[in-house]
């Protein structure tokens, strides 16, 4: 049995199913992200772990104890909200000590603990201020300190960085991961931002329409998506719709694609082949040798993204996106004729 076990959790609001047959085991000290579009059930699941929603069916076990029906204030689970939710009438110090006061901890312990967690989020100098006197990023760090002060058994973060600007977001997510690893605290992190989920999680749970699409490490989710939804929601992918014509070939209109990642599809099955833009190589002239998945095309769009340049290439009536690094190679231009190619191992085939 894992540290936190969610078994067959389902929840509906009136007739709308929010979460269905959710099964997940989280080991102690892990950071697991719930990733998905809005309305996919990730926040509802988090709120069920916190106790703010009760599951219609299924059980939530924490450290061997069934907490499915335990009220939120008795669960010992800390939570950080998107809107910070600092108490406006209390100073930062009073905010952080709130949970410890509720737990009726002795005063010297409270003082020591508050100093400790304020130090941890590097905001000891703000103790006497009020929440509105702090920036959004600082407020969220205080919210984190407040949740950590009670030494929760599990830490829940509900889209904690959504309200912040890009720069603060990146800095703070690193901070969250640093603190989480330092304390070894079991953490569930809800986000709709794939980059955020992939960069800080031990494991990612991709959700869609109340169901789990895939659970895996960031690399597994990105490199071997189980479903078309995962493949297109995480990163971008070129989609080729076609039919299976051989052991490892898919015919997509005029293009014959070769893949060594065709699952056992019988000939004639309608499928979709997915290739990530960074796996598409682009050549100015036809490369020598016998290449598989080699097509001729014309550059239609060209957008500069800093490290890479994204090309939109038209090949046999298909629009194919390719990310290339232009450093040290001849410039490409609009309407230029190019050859593009991708290795069979990068072409993943799944049912339509």
């Amino acid at each position: 049995m894992a540290y936190l076990d969610l078994t067959n959790i389902s929840k509906a609001f009136n007739t709308v199913v929010a979460v269905k047959d959710f099964n997940l085991s989280i080991e102690k000290g892990q950071l697991v992200s719930f990733l998905g579009p809005s309305g996919c059930g990730k926040t509802t699941t988090l709120r069920m772990i916190a106790g703010f929603e009760l599951p219609d069916s299924g059980t939530i076990m924490l450290n061997g104890e069934d907490i499915s029906l335990v009220p939120p204030n008795k669960r010992g689970i800390g939570m950080v909200f998107q809107a910070y939710a600092l108490f406006p009438n209390m100073t930062i110090r009073e905010n952080v000590m709130f949970g410890l006061r509720m737990a009726k901890k002795p005063k010297p312990y409270i003082e020591k603990k508050v100093d400790e967690v304020l130090d941890l989020v590097r905001l000891s100098n703000t103790a006497k201020r009020y929440p509105h006197q702090l920036s959004g990023g600082q407020q969220q760090r205080i919210a984190l300190a407040r949740a950590l002060a009670i030494e929760p058994r599990v830490l829940l973060l509900d889209e904690p960085l959504s309200a912040l600007d890009a720069e603060v977001r990146v800095a703070l997510r690193g901070e969250i991961r640093r603190i989480q690893t330092e304390l070894g605290i079991t953490t569930v992190y809800v986000t709709h931002d794939q980059e955020e989920a992939l960069s800080i999680s031990d494991r990612v749970v991709v959700m869609n329409s109340g169901l789990i699409e895939q659970i895996g490490t960031a690399q597994e989710i990105y490199r071997s998506p189980n479903t078309r939804f995962v493949a297109t929601f995480i990163g971008t992918a070129n989609e080729f719709h076609g039919i299976v014509t051989g052991e490892n070939t898919v015919l997509c209109d005029d293009l014959t694609l070769t893949s060594d990642r065709i699952r056992s599809f019988i000939n004639g099955t309608r499928v979709v082949a997915l290739v990530r833009p960074e796996n598409v190589q682009v050549f100015d002239s036809k490369p020598a040798g016998d290449q598989l998945n080699l097509f001729e095309g014309v550059i239609e769009t060209l957008t500069f993204h800093g490290a890479i340049t994204r090309l939109g290439i038209s090949a046999s009536g298909k629009h194919i996106t390719a990310d290339v690094n232009l450093t040290g190679r001849a410039m490409l231009s609009h309407h230029q004729k190019v050859w593009l190619c991708f290795q069979p191992e990068y072409c993943q085939v799944m049912s339509e």
Binding site: G51, F52, A85, F87, N89, M90, A103, A147
Partner: protein, 269 residues
């Protein structure tokens, strides 16, 4: 940089101030005037209106009754309205529109009708024609003021999330209410209390029709004097106004900390 107001803006503000202040100044002047019907300014000044009023055996009694009535109404109103509105905001959002609608009713029903209906319905001891019934009636009559103020300040802060944040930190419902919610909406409670206090202190119809002479209030004494001597009635008006004003200042002063926190909330927005 602040812009200078235009002439029309100044005139408009001046007109508004005069419109509000002239009746009050006139009442103050009339209360110390000896005779003021043949000249622009009073012919003479004296404090006789005040001394005569204070000598009335009912003067202090009615003042006390009105204070007790107003404060009790504020208290009962707070106890009923705050938890109700809180629950509606957090747990029963769908009931909010119904409650909003109900809160217009006291404005739509004339005080006379409300008073007579209550007297008919509660025509048994110990409620019949008692001060208790009057307090209950005043609570209903002034509930929109308290409801609106509290409801607005609840809407201004994200009350559900604050509640959940407090719960996740181990707070039970009592601590959530007393330590998080009440301080956050304190400014609203304060302004609601002020409105209720001032309204009940000057309220005549309900008091007259429900208890009558059994629990004489200050406005009842005032109305009696309007039929006898205008100067004394004016003096009583001035006293009534001043008492309500002092009480308001007192409430504001007691809740000084809360008022600062409203500004905090506004600034945070």
């Amino acid at each position: 940089m602040k812009q200078k107001p235009s002439v029309s803006q100044v005139l408009l503000i001046l007109f508004f101030i005069l419109y509000m202040v002239i009746p009050i100044i006139a009442t103050y002047v009339f209360s110390v005037a000896t005779r003021w019907d043949r000249t622009i300014l009073p012919e003479g000044y004296s404090l006789e209106g005040y001394t005569t009023a204070a000598q009335n055996p009912y003067f202090f009694k009615t003042l006390r009754n009105s204070l007790v009535l107003s404060l009790s109404t504020v208290l009962v109103s707070l106890i009923i309205v705050v938890p109700t509105v809180y629950w509606v905001h957090v747990r029963l959002q769908s009931a909010k529109s119904l409650l909003d609608l109900l809160m217009i009713l006291p404005f739509g029903i004339p005080g006379v009708v409300l008073a007579l209906a209550l007297v008919q319905v509660y025509n048994f001891q110990p409620l019949s024609r008692s001060a208790l019934l009057l307090i209950a009636a005043e609570v209903v009559f002034t509930m929109p003021f308290m409801y609106r103020s509290v409801s607005n300040s609840l809407a201004a802060v994200d009350i559900s999330t604050l509640t959940e944040a407090a719960q996740s930190l181990g707070a039970d419902i009592k601590s959530v209410l007393l330590e998080v919610i009440v301080p956050s909406i304190f400014p609203g409670m304060l302004s609601g209390s002020l409105l209720v206090f001032a309204t009940v202190f000057a309220e005549f119809t309900l008091a007259r029709l429900i208890v009558g002479a059994g629990f004489k209030t200050f406005p009842m004494l005032l109305v009696e004097y309007t039929r006898i001597d205008g100067t004394i009635a004016a003096a009583l008006s001035v006293i009534s106004f001043t008492v309500a004003w002092i009480a308001s200042m007192l409430i504001l002063w007691v809740g000084g900390k809360g008022v600062r926190s409203t500004q905090d909330i506004v600034k945070a927005k």
